[in-house]
């Protein structure tokens, strides 16, 4: 029997609290695969953020620090400076990274902090019940944009990868999507590359993963993937924005 696919041991997926079909799980798996493939289980230190992924430490079997909302890049900086040879990564949602924590991510990137950031952009605040995120699309209905996001007043979605790519300290920035099997395969490559960037001490690496939130989007998991592809990608084009 040849194994075609088996989850890596470092992924503890049995008791995940995520809603059915939520691609947070897929993203976790890609992180776990990258760590396993780099053989870095023993030196990986994750920094979880506040959002639906707040329990990430329960699902990835490596050292973890749970950061305050938005501050994961600062926490990771503290960790990485103390253990420069550890594989330090943050896992953050779009509310966490692009709203309350935008200063921390920009400065970690500007410093060229040698860490890896996994950025889950699902265009919504999942954990708190579907409020508008900075990445919410124009017209998208959320619990705090009941009539759909109206740019007059609520502004426009922020493209974080494009911003981070302007910074000299950023070594690798890519945006990928989790909406079908091929896109997940490409996302996996991006995640691995972002970890390799750190291993090679090239500086700050971030992968933005467009992700679904079936629950708060009010869609089935399958429809959510279609919506992601049809509506999110035009606003958040996929691709490599920086590579040194």
């Amino acid at each position: 029997m040849k194994t075609i696919y088996k989850k890596p041991d470092v992924f503890l997926s049995e008791n995940m609290h995520y809603c059915p079909g939520c691609t947070h799980g897929v993203a976790h798996r890609l992180v776990a695969e990258a760590i396993a493939e780099l053989g870095a289980e023993e030196r990986a230190i994750g920094v979880a953020s506040v959002g639906c992924s707040v329990f990430a430490a329960n699902y990835l079997d490596c050292d973890f620090t749970e950061a305050a909302h938005g501050r994961a890049p600062a926490v990771a900086t503290g960790v990485k400076r103390v253990h420069p040879n550890a594989l330090v990564f943050t896992y953050q949602g779009d509310g966490d990274l692009a709203s309350i924590g935008v200063a921390e991510i920009i400065h970690a990137a500007a410093r060229g902090e040698n860490i890896t950031v996994i950025f889950i952009n699902n265009a919504i605040y999942g954990m708190t019940g579907g409020q508008m995120a900075p990445t919410t699309l124009v017209g998208q209905t959320t619990t705090t944009s009941p009539g759909g996001r109206n740019p007059a007043g609520a502004g426009y979605p922020i493209r974080m990868s494009e911003i981070i790519a302007t910074l000299d300290g950023a070594a690798y920035v890519e945006r990928a999507g989790l909406y079908d099997v091929p896109s997940i395969a490409r996302a996996k490559k991006a995640v691995k590359k972002a970890f390799e960037t750190q291993v090679h001490k090239k500086g700050f690496a971030m992968v933005e993963l467009l992700s679904t939130c079936p629950t708060n989007w009010g869609k089935t998991p399958v429809d959510a993937m279609t919506w992601l592809k049809d509506y999110m990608i035009p606003q958040f084009p996929l691709g490599v924005f920086k590579e040194v």
Partner: protein, 72 residues
Amino acid sequence: MSYVEILTDVCKGCGLCVSVCPAGIMVLSPDAINARGYAPVTITAMENCIGCASCARVCPDAVLSVYKEVLT
């Protein structure tokens, strides 16, 4: 021949694997309910599985493992 292992009690019945299976052999149990209250996925005709692992690669909960018999 290929074989898909299912951790039935971990499955949340989201249907993502069903939607991507090229062989069309996956289906959410119409009657069974697992320990967590979900209708888990089952495979109707394992012999038609082509071992592409699409299902496993899309599953958010790592419910699925895929193996292929290798002729040595």
